[in-house]
Symmetry: C2
Subunit: 511 residues, 2 copies
Amino acid sequence: MPGFQRMTAPAGKWPEDVGIVAIEVYFPSQYVDQTELEKFDGASAGKYTIGLGQKKMGFCSDREDINSLCLTVVQNLMERNQLPFDAIGRLEVGTETIIDKSKSVKTVLMQLFEDSGNTDLEGIDTTNACYGGTAALFNALSWVESSAWDGRYALVIAGDIAVYATGSARPTGGAGAVAMLVGPHAPLVIERGLRSSHMQHVYDFYKPDMSSEYPRVDGKLSIQCYLGALDKCYQRYLAKAEAALQNAGEACQLTVDAFDGFCFHSPYCKLVQKSLARLVLNDFLRDPSADTTEGSRYAGTEQFRNVKLEDTFFDKAVEKAFMAASKEVFSEKTQPSLLLASMVGNMYTPSLYGCLVSYLASVPLDQLANKRIALFSYGSGLASSMYSIRVSSDNSAGLPLAKLRASVDDLEARLESRRCVEPGAFADTMKLREDTHHLAKYTPQGSITDLFPGTWYLTYVDEMHRRQYNRSPVSQQISADQSSQIIEDTVKETKTEEDMETGNAEAVSAQ
Amino acid sequence: MPGFQRMTAPAGKWPEDVGIVAIEVYFPSQYVDQTELEKFDGASAGKYTIGLGQKKMGFCSDREDINSLCLTVVQNLMERNQLPFDAIGRLEVGTETIIDKSKSVKTVLMQLFEDSGNTDLEGIDTTNACYGGTAALFNALSWVESSAWDGRYALVIAGDIAVYATGSARPTGGAGAVAMLVGPHAPLVIERGLRSSHMQHVYDFYKPDMSSEYPRVDGKLSIQCYLGALDKCYQRYLAKAEAALQNAGEACQLTVDAFDGFCFHSPYCKLVQKSLARLVLNDFLRDPSADTTEGSRYAGTEQFRNVKLEDTFFDKAVEKAFMAASKEVFSEKTQPSLLLASMVGNMYTPSLYGCLVSYLASVPLDQLANKRIALFSYGSGLASSMYSIRVSSDNSAGLPLAKLRASVDDLEARLESRRCVEPGAFADTMKLREDTHHLAKYTPQGSITDLFPGTWYLTYVDEMHRRQYNRSPVSQQISADQSSQIIEDTVKETKTEEDMETGNAEAVSAQ
């Protein structure tokens, strides 16, 4: 068999413009209002809504689990984009909602591919707290650039159910899933060579109690770890970008001005605002000649010229000064990304990608072309990365960017169509999950009539813990026209809360 | 910032000969003898040793967990190859031994990198039963070929503790970890374009009881799934290889003769022998003109010319005929890979890579060059892939292949240096793990004096479930000369058991 010696592929090249071709988000059809939850919990008024920056929190009954969330978002993405299931060559799930220590969510999703006969899909599940979706995305991007790529799309899923025991962390929950189609000629191109990471051993947020859905949290440590990782990732990203500029003969020092948008992993919105302030603090400390005169960005920060980053994680004076210094940048470049984070809550792995969806849905198509968006992914434990997306330059109708933008146009309308549940009923649902999430055999009790059309739900767990699902009937998609007005109202409303702060760093986490 | 628009890397090419540069295996320093276990369990003589093909089973006391296993194998690999910790740019762990639903083993391993200051390492943990190591390897290979590669090595870890409740599956346990250094110019090159997968939703082996270390097993279904996945992966691999040959103008039909070695995921050795027979059955059914005359490979199989693969999973007549037809191929190409599988047992994710190490250690360096090895990876649930390794052609002293071969030369001596534990003490240890593996706070009771030198072990789990570790003193490595004689003896001994079969497909699994 002489030919077999030389049948492997010749040295190949990376395809052009590899990135996110399509994106789909799913969140539960029910939520609890954070103002009502403050009252119900006996918390001070504004503690959740202003201190944490949260408005509504999505949650699941016992009808939904990590498998059903991912089934729903995958099928919705395929249907919305009219993609055949054999167009997918890789499928990987990032999650920290572990309901089986061995069997991956990916294998459960293979049920959707059965009719197509397509079983040749690489990828399984990947886990480290809220970072799993980013790891899955990076793996998919590498696959498309590698010799293993077979010309088909990769599908990246991030999904989680974020729930906390009763107490001050409970309002930082949420639930949802995001699916991303990855391939070449993408409208959202992941920039090559501009990726930085920081990984560290730490017990800030973790889930060692295998029989519980709830995490162990050292909230203050978690925030310190998050901000410290952000510092390191930002510095490393800028170092790589500046080195590349220097190689191109255009040496300069970069700042937040190099980006049009910033998306962060969003445990709660107030931490995101502090994070953007943190980047401006980094910019300031990197520039010994930074202008601090009245009217300049850094006005009022002169006294902090010699602070050390590692001393400022909980320095209220520094925080206040740089929240002020970054206020405009935040409003313009980060606030548009916080729609889902404030209206659904922390979705864990999908959180960052919910921010990306929110950003895309909040910026009109004609302003979206050519934008550069920085993304910071954080998972406790810890794993963190920063990278950037360049939006394609052509927003013509019928081209990928316009299609992608149109696909998220119904986001606000979908959020508004949800059902508000009283805090008491929410607490009962949490208790029901506590008592039943691990049971076999078990028939879920939650209503199925209130689910969004096209939602997969759990019908039965048999005595061998085998899970069975069904899907609610699919209806018409909400049209784009219905949603456009609602977006602007919500963005305005969010802005009024910027300077208020009653959050409790000990109680909630940056997970 | 005009230059920032064009600072991303130009279209790049894949580096040459990407694959496994170095490999390290760790297994526990204690084992239970399977003949003694048969007596202790009241099983019929030969049930474990001949029916399953197992000789000894490695196991861990409460001093070892998935974190400690991986810490040990990583540090051992780095020390044996005198690698600095900042030479690693990616680190990913494949495991199904989940002791935290959120915090990855990868983050625990970051402790080893602290002194180097290297925290910029992509990759987290990846899970689907025994397939996680393969997924991590594929991700690492893609990373090296991608624009994200920064010129450093990737490190891939597969580790697990495989334990079963008392009963007939218990002798199919094992424990261990394998670390693989991945990069270009490798002595073990992963062949490009020759990778096939089969993924499917099935409950054959899974771990839905989050509070237990033990799996749920449908043993018979598991074996059917394993063999069915093997059929599909082999057929798809051959189709890709034959298409590549046709493109090169050298069309031909490939068989097992195209490979010099076969490594399989090895739940127990008898299943591996059946798997090799299965490949020969596939070859036979793909060739309508296959020669079945006396003295030919397929002698005695004429009556099976029209069988369908899907009807033969438990057909004893077909199995016997093709075990006979494949006997020589098995002895030459697969038996050398079963040293660790028979002497340690099923290590889950590291199982396949333990077979690769065994193969490398069993074939003399001067016969190793240019060998082509097929690898079949299987994880219940299910995820499976087949791919191939081409061993580099230059076995000169000082070059990568010779170094790699020298690094596994002590394998037999290390296996022989283990401590044999009575079945009663083994059962006590299993009970101790059952009772304590989830406890906090907890001080492990197991001896630390019997651990191999350089073994990380658990010292304490505090009330917050935070785990602390220490490392046993490092001694001299066992020299290569000590081990060479032992290898041949063991291979001879294994061969005598080939045709005996008393296994029970219902009780044990192909996981």
